[in-house]
């Protein structure tokens, strides 16, 4: 049966998922603010460059106004040389052509313009250049500034942002992982407790921290519910046992009355009904007895008084007891093997007797029934196998429940296998119903540590 799990691995825990959402949100914010910072920075740098170029154009215009054309040509050539050292380009044209230039710049008409891949007269190539074109008297002046600095600033900013982002993401993942692992461990402990409770260990409780977080509060709540559940179970169980017990005295009176009635009516009228009544009361007494035995086993808190027991000997005794009954039903019953375990010999005999009685009652005429004791994987196994009609796989779990009788199963209280389960559990043994191809094979598998005794 697939069972829902509380824990499902570190990376899918709630705390870890929370951390992932945090990381995604942080990355989004970081990206947007990064873009804003970049744009602002670029804008500031560009404004600076533009202001510089405009000032230089004004300077060239002043020189053009103040100097003779020959002197202007010289000054501009000097300027072009000095500009080149600062990755600046300049070109001055008059009506005839180039007056002075340190790069091949198109004379264009637009005031501001960005051109790519500009070759300087010194053999350098500039990737992106911002050009300002203006008039200075009769001259057309084109001034340009390399934009590599802007790109460097952008890269530097983006790099810093990426580094900060990576560090924060790594920190968040680590925090998420630690938190996730912590809650995972806490949930794992709760899950283990619930598992134990579902296996019938009603005393199991989740550990509660002195400094409780949400999970600890949930654990405390679960423990509170388990306390109540345990009390309810205990009450229900002891109530069932005490009802069965308290009914024994009135039942004894009823049986004695029925016996007297039987004696008084003799062979007269009402004899049949009196005999039926006595028979029904006997059946009732047997059911009460079985319920009490089971309730006592299930309610037992103290350790089982265990002694070394040879399951083979138990099987042989039971086979001896039921052999004649099996023979009378046209069946064969045999016992084989040896396996030592620790347990209550009386209880184990009763367990094996219930298995044998079940097989004799249901395997049908001609069946061969085999009680066996054997060691398997270090564990003692008591098995009862027959080649009768067996139990359909879907019904096997159900027949262990009290008062379940399968169709056509005939007489019986429906408590025999319930007792077997209770007695097996009292020994910490596992009860398995399987097919015997054809037939039924019931195995009681005792815990390994007891076999060491």
């Amino acid at each position: 049966m697939a069972r829902a799990r509380l824990t499902s691995g570190l990376t899918s825990g709630a705390a870890f998922r929370g951390a992932l959402y945090g990381i995604a949100a942080f990355c989004g914010v970081l990206f947007l603010s990064g873009i804003a910072v970049l744009m602002t920075a670029r804008h500031a740098v560009m404004s600076d460059i533009q202001a510089g170029l405009a000032a230089q154009l004004a300077f060239v215009q002043e020189m053009a106004a103040a100097n003779e054309p020959a002197a202007f040509g010289e000054t501009v050539s000097d300027l072009a040389r000095r500009f080149a050292a600062a990755n600046m380009v300049v070109a001055v044209y008059d009506a005839e052509g180039v007056v002075a230039a340190n790069a091949a710049l198109p004379p264009g008409t637009a005031t501001w313009k960005i051109v790519e891949d500009v070759a300087t007269v010194y053999g350098e190539r500039l990737d992106r250049v911002l050009l300002l074109t203006g008039r200075a008297g009769p001259y057309t002046v084109v001034l340009g500034r390399d934009l590599a600095g802007v790109a460097r600033v952008s890269h530097a900013i983006a790099g810093v942002l990426a580094l900060v982002g990576a560090a924060v993401v790594a920190a968040l993942i680590a925090i998420g992982w630690v938190l996730s692992a912590r809650s995972e461990r806490a949930l794992g402990r709760i899950e283990a407790v619930l598992d134990r409770v579902s296996r019938g260990e009603f005393g199991a409780r989740a550990p509660e921290a002195a400094d409780p977080d949400q999970i600890d509060r949930v654990a405390a709540k679960i423990n509170l519910h388990l306390d109540r559940l345990e009390i309810l179970m205990e009450e229900a169980r002891s109530r069932a046992a005490s009802i069965a017990h308290d009914l024994r005295t009135p039942l004894a009176r009823a049986m004695l009355t029925a016996e007297r009635l039987l004696a008084e009516v003799g062979e007269g009228p009402g004899a049949g009904a009196a005999a039926d009544l006595a028979g029904e009361l006997d059946g009732l007494a047997r059911i009460f007895d079985a319920i009490l035995r089971i309730a006592r086993l299930e309610g037992a808190r103290e350790a089982l008084p265990a002694a070394p027991v040879d399951l083979g000997e138990v099987a042989a005794e039971v086979a001896d007891l039921y052999g004649a009954a099996a023979e009378a039903a046209g069946q064969s019953l045999c016992a084989e093997g040896h396996a030592w375990t620790a347990g209550d010999p009386v209880l184990l005999t009763q367990l094996a007797a219930n298995l044998a009685a079940n097989a004799v009652a249901h395997a049908g005429p001609g069946a061969s029934i085999r009680l066996s004791a054997a060691m398997r994987d270090g564990r003692a196994v008591l098995a009862c196998a027959d080649d009768g009609p067996g139990i359909p796989e879907a019904e096997r779990a159900r027949v262990l429940d009290p008062f379940v009788r399968l169709e056509g199963a005939g007489e019986g209280t429906g408590l025999g296998l319930t007792f077997v389960r209770a007695a097996a559990e009292r020994h910490g043994a596992e009860l398995r119903l399987g097919g015997n191809g054809p037939g039924l094979r019931v195995e009681v598998i005792f815990p390994a540590k007891l076999a060491d005794m």
């Binding site: 017990h245 024994r248 005295t249 039942l251 004894a252 009176r253 009823a254 049986m255 004695l256 009355t257 016996e259 007297r260 009361l281 007494a285 047997r286 009460f288 007895d289 009490l292 035995r293 006592r296 005794e317 001896d320 007891l321 039921y322 004649a324 009954a325 023979e327 009378a328 209550d344 009386v346 209880l347 005999t349 009763q350 007797a353 009685a357 004799v360 009652a361």
Partner: protein, 225 residues
């Protein structure tokens, strides 16, 4: 027999006392443990039937007190407390037999009579006889009308118990208890089938049956009457 009955449930006590009286026994009834103890210290019943849950003094303490006072009469606990561990407690306290409630009167009667006889304390017998059947307890052999009968170990035990109680009813649960040491209801035909095997050897080849079924709960051995 003189039988002491200590039972606080008036109706059960009345049924049991009347039933035992009908069988010819003298019954003294007490509903209280202390009163019963005081009575026992100077009277010597042949058998005592004692409930465990009693006002005044509980049954276990009563039996311990009786044994401590040197009273050796056979005691049967008749009680609703008949789980395995409770039976063990009862026997440890000094009881000789244990019967759980609810019970059949015939079962109680058979057990009480067997207890009363057990006390008889005659010299140990070496040969048991019923009519023409004899069981040699030394040689572990059975012969009927001069003919040796082969018996398995269980059949021998069964026959010995029936013959020791010849003329008296031995119930199915007594047989289970004494022959197989089993104190639970093992299903209906377990004892019957063993007895019918025994009958096939003891009775079938001969004219006169010795093992008789008593109503639906036990067996009695006797010769022709």
């Amino acid at each position: 027999m003189k039988i002491l009955l200590v039972e606080d449930d008036a109706k059960i006590a009345q049924f049991v006392a009347e039933g035992l009286a009908q069988e010819g026994h003298a019954v003294e009834r007490f509903g209280d443990g202390k009163a019963a103890l005081a009575h026992c210290l100077d009277a010597d019943p042949d058998v005592a039937i004692i409930d465990r849950m009693l006002p005044g003094l509980d049954g276990l303490s009563l039996v311990r007190a009786l044994r401590a006072a040197g009273k050796a009469m056979p005691v049967l606990f008749l009680t609703a407390l008949d789980q395995v561990d409770q039976r063990v407690e009862g026997f440890r306290a000094g009881a000789d037999d244990y019967l759980g409630k609810p019970f059949h009167f015939a079962e109680l009667l058979a057990r009480v009579e067997a207890l009363g006889r057990r006390q008889g304390g005659t010299a140990p017998e070496t040969v048991l006889k019923v009519h023409d059947l004899s069981l040699d307890l030394m040689a572990h052999s059975a012969t009927r009308a001069g003919q040796e009968i082969e018996l398995h170990a269980r059949e021998y035990q069964l026959l010995e118990l029936l013959m020791r109680n010849a003329g008296r009813v031995v119930t199915r649960s007594m047989l289970l208890d004494r022959v197989w040491n089993i104190n639970f209801e093992p299903g209906t035909t377990v004892v019957e089938t063993h007895v019918s095997r025994l009958r096939a050897k003891i009775d079938k080849p001969f004219d006169c049956p010795l093992i008789h079924t008593v109503r639906n709960f036990g067996y009695v051995m006797h010769g022709p009457r």
